[in-house]
Amino acid sequence: MRPAQHQAGRRTRWAAGLVLVGTMLLAGCGSYPGVTEQSRNAHDLYNLMFVIATVIFVLVEGLIVWAVLRYRRRDDALPPQFHGNNLLEVGWTLGPLLIVGVLFWFSWQAQHRVEAETPNPDVTVNVTGFQWQWSFTFQGEKVRVEENKPPQDLTLKGTIARPPQIYLPVGRSIHFNLQSRDVIHSFYIAQFLFKRDAIPGQTNHFEVTIEKPGTYAGQCAEFCGLAHNGMHFTIKAVQEAEYRRWLEDRKRAAASGCPDDPTPGQIAAKQVAFDKDCLATQAGKPFNLKFDNEDAQPHNVAVYTTEAATDALFQGETFTGPRTVTYNLKPMPKGSYFFRCDVHPSAMTGKLVVR
């Protein structure tokens, strides 16, 4: 090999090496890896696409900049007037076709793995989105909330002021069923590299196995009205034993009226949400309920026998805040009742326990 050729060859190899190293580096700082088994597929596919995208980007932008600078006008002579080249054009039709064909194939294979579901998942969580929070029901985790009724599945419901935090076990298959009570929401956990819509009139489902313990923030990703950005939640991925302890803890709390609340006779409204979804009082005694409306919007508290809200036991005065009013409720018999704000019947609801 003659020296000139040799040098050219070395330069090409150098350039190729640089491009390769550069793209690997770029791929490394691409999407951060997900924490579920399923998200590894998305992450790998993203990185493959990122490398291809970087090569295309550098090549095409390079050609544009080269063409513009190399062929800038220096004189007024007419350049060669060529109109096309069939071979080249076929080439740059087939090249991209091949690239997208390969990408589609990998994407299709990954989709099978991401969509796969086991017949008997270890944990099933039924998630309901509503304006503007989430409720999580742990299927099969029975708890007797009221004395005279059959046990129900453990349900945790968040408020904007107190977003829910749920625990899930690592290394177990977790099946989510998604529903919505009003408008379309989207159940999105950034570190799962995944989201799926919760749509009224349709149940969506997906399955994940969390591999890495940690605390993962979730948020509604589909615009769902006024307080869309208040629909936060947190998933804490822990070992099986800790998850079981947490479940038992929640069940005990659910069975005992209003858990963890030193002032179950007070409630506040802020940003079209109650600060709590549980109130408690004693049976056979008058109940003085202190209601602090911090919103410049009308709210009230009304108590009904059931969630259907057909028989009202008490309907508090509706007023615009900021103002605090004490409602005087008549004595009630033992039981569990339903309360809500009559102005925002789907967003502001909760349970009144009389013991």
């Binding site: 999407s31 951060y32 597929n41 998305a42 596919l45 993203y46 696409m49 995208a53 980007f57 095409v60 932008e61 544009i64 063409a67 513009v68 062929y71 800038r72 006008r73 004189d75 007024d76 350049p79 060669p80 007037q81 060529f82 109109h83 096309g84 080249n85 080249l88 054009e89 740059w92 076709l97 997208v100 990408l103 589609f104 994407s107 990954a110 989709q111 991401v114 408008v183 989207s186 950034a190 570190q191 799962f192 995944f194 989201k195 799926r196 819509d197 749509i199 009224p200 009139g201 349709q202 948020q219 990703a221 589909e222 615009f223 769902c224 009205g225 006024l226 307080a227 869309h228 950005n229």
Partner: protein
């Protein structure tokens, strides 16, 4: 007939009025001249561009810091709804239609559009639509469910107003009707009113893209306007098309909406591609490379555009068909062909850096990013993570701002001397370009990273510990730069209009038919027409005796029906 032959000057052809002696205001209000209507389209659309840009500035101001400072949820939701709606329906689509109105009849040697009165009607619906849309603010608050207006959120009342969404529907029905009428008009004009010799494969690419765009509009827009009526019925007359509580299907809206709105993306981009395809050859002093491939790629994008709509809906879990993923990947191919052809057009040319050319090259460099980051969303697996995050906001802006808006400005600088007889100032044009280029990338590139970090779109507030603050601040500064960049442009237009002296009739040495007549053209457009033997009739006339050039052209050309 040679190009050097003396042509009547603008002054000699009178005041361009069909009926001289009428008051200028009455003339503009009642005109059916496609050039005047085109100008009104452009001015009206640019006005709404500034309005929608202002709304975007409000959003960026709010997002500069976590917490709610200036616009609480209720107002913020109106801002992004009105920004998107206004930019898409009152700016980009009518702006490009405005260029089409002025330029298409001139490019094919016609004396007006086929239906001049219908043309006036389609224009006058647009300012009306804008007024109807923004009148929501007078009822207590504007529409607030996003420009996509997904039910069932769009069936609910907005915070401040119960009828804002109905006004939104009414405004879009007007825009839709205007588009459909315009589409019919363009198709009829292009099919029936071409000058002798102007065969289909001799039409400039801008006219071709307007033809394909009009076919898309004709096929897709009626579907959308029907959906709007269904939504109106659901909201006001107790219909139950989209409300599952009444037995309706919520996702149905998304299918119909995107069946229109995905082709609409091409309605917003194809004419900009057409502008670029006219500008690049002129300032490279070469013919367009692969003219026919361009036409077929444009038609291919139009056809494929109808089979990819569900990629907007992968997260709904209702349409996880590999079909839509495959089609979405496939649509990258004709776009890729165009890119290589554009580059080959500049290859071995004589590239001249006018402001129009800078914006055209800006289109190439920026639209490429929008094409590449869109490819990620074609894969459902990757899309699950990225959809409805700022990645998508970035993608749409690289396509519609990096693509369409850069194309619109390329067209403005390129055709301004055609509209007025005077070139815009090149120095101010370059300041405009660089400010906008830097501002645009500062605003929209970091959004990719925010999307990967998981920031959802359409939120007024974010939590400080998410570490999104720094990037949001960079974006806010960038958006300020974009706003500032319009100042040199507006000053440029103002100063140029006030300037007394005129530029040559064909200042760019361009070769398509619109440059054969005077600048601005007389009311009847052409006093005479040259012989049309290729897509560059003026070039042929100039080099009629230049055998070398001609031999080169005829041996390699594929253009021109024989």
């Amino acid at each position: 007939m040679a190009i050097t032959e003396a042509r009547p000057s603008a002054a000699a052809s009178g005041s361009h009025q069909l009926r001289p002696g009428r008051h200028p205001i009455m003339e503009w209000l009642t005109t059916t001249d496609h050039k005047k209507i085109g100008i009104m389209y452009l001015v009206n659309s640019y006005f709404w561009f500034l309005v929608a840009g202002l709304l975007a500035m409000f959003m960026r101001t709010e997002l500069a810091e976590p917490g709610v400072q200036y616009f609480a949820d209720e107002r913020f939701n109106e801002l992004f709804t009105m920004h998107g709606t206004t930019m898409i329906f009152l700016f980009i689509i009518p702006m490009l239609a405005g260029f089409g109105n002025y330029i298409v009849p001139l490019q094919i040697g016609a004396l007006d559009m086929a239906f001049p009165r219908v043309n006036a009607l389609s224009f006058w619906m647009l300012p009306l639509a804008g007024i109807v849309l923004f009148s929501g603010y007078l009822t207590g608050g504007a529409a607030c469910a996003g420009w996509t207006e997904y039910p069932t959120v769009s069936l609910q009342a907005c915070g401040g107003s119960t009828i804002a969404t109905d006004l939104w529907i009414a405004a879009l029905l007007l825009v839709g009707t205007s588009s459909i009428l315009g589409g019919v008009n363009f198709i009829t004009t292009i099919f029936n009113m071409r000058a002798p010799g102007m065969s289909m494969f001799r039409m400039p690419l801008f006219t071709w893209t307007m033809l394909v765009t009009s076919l898309l509009v004709l096929l897709a827009t009626p579907v959308f306007t029907s959906a709007l009526v269904l939504l109106l019925i659901d909201r006001n007359l107790g219909g139950s098309f989209f409300d599952p509580a009444e037995g309706g299907i919520t996702v149905m809206w998304q299918n119909i909406f995107w069946f229109y709105s995905h082709p609409a993306v091409y309605v917003m981009v194809l004419p900009a591609m057409g502008i670029i395809s006219d500008v690049l050859p002129v300032f490279s002093r070469k013919p367009l490379f692969g003219y026919k491939a361009f036409v077929f790629a444009t038609a291919g994008i139009g056809a494929l555009g109808f089979s990819v709509w569900a990629h907007h809906m992968f997260a709904t879990g209702a349409v996880l068909l590999p079909f839509f993923s495959a089609m979405t990947f496939l649509i990258a191919v004709p776009t890729g062909v165009k890119f290589f052809n554009w580059i080959a057009t500049m290859w071995r040319g004589k590239v001249q850096f006018t402001a129009a050319m800078l914006f055209a090259v800006g289109f190439l460099t920026m639209f490429l990013v929008g094409g590449i980051d869109g490819m990620f969303l074609a894969s459902p697996v990757v899309d699950f993570g990225l959809t409805d995050t700022y990645w998508v906001v970035s993608h749409i802006h690289y396509v519609l701002f990096g693509g369409s808006v850069f194309g619109v400005y390329a067209g403005m600088y390129y055709w301004f001397p055609k509209f007025t007889g005077k070139r815009l100032n090149e120095g101010l044009g370059k300041v405009h370009f660089w400010l906008q280029m830097i501002g645009f990338n500062l605003t929209f590139f970091p959004m990719h990273v925010l999307g990967l970090l998981g920031m959802p779109r359409r939120i007024a507030d974010y939590i400080p510990y998410d570490n999104w603050t720094g990037l949001n601040q960079v974006e806010t500064i960038g958006s300020l730069l974009i706003a500032v960049s319009t100042a040199p442009f507006l000053a440029n237009v103002w100063l140029t209009l006030r300037r007394k002296d005129r530029d040559p009739e064909n200042p760019w040495d361009a070769n398509s038919l619109e440059w054969y007549t005077t600048s601005p053209p007389p009311a009847h457009n052409f006093d005479s027409l040259p012989e049309i033997r290729s897509e560059r009739p003026l070039f042929d006339a100039k080099h009629a005796n230049d055998l070398a050039v001609h031999a080169d052209a005829t041996t390699t050309t594929e253009t021109g029906a024989r």
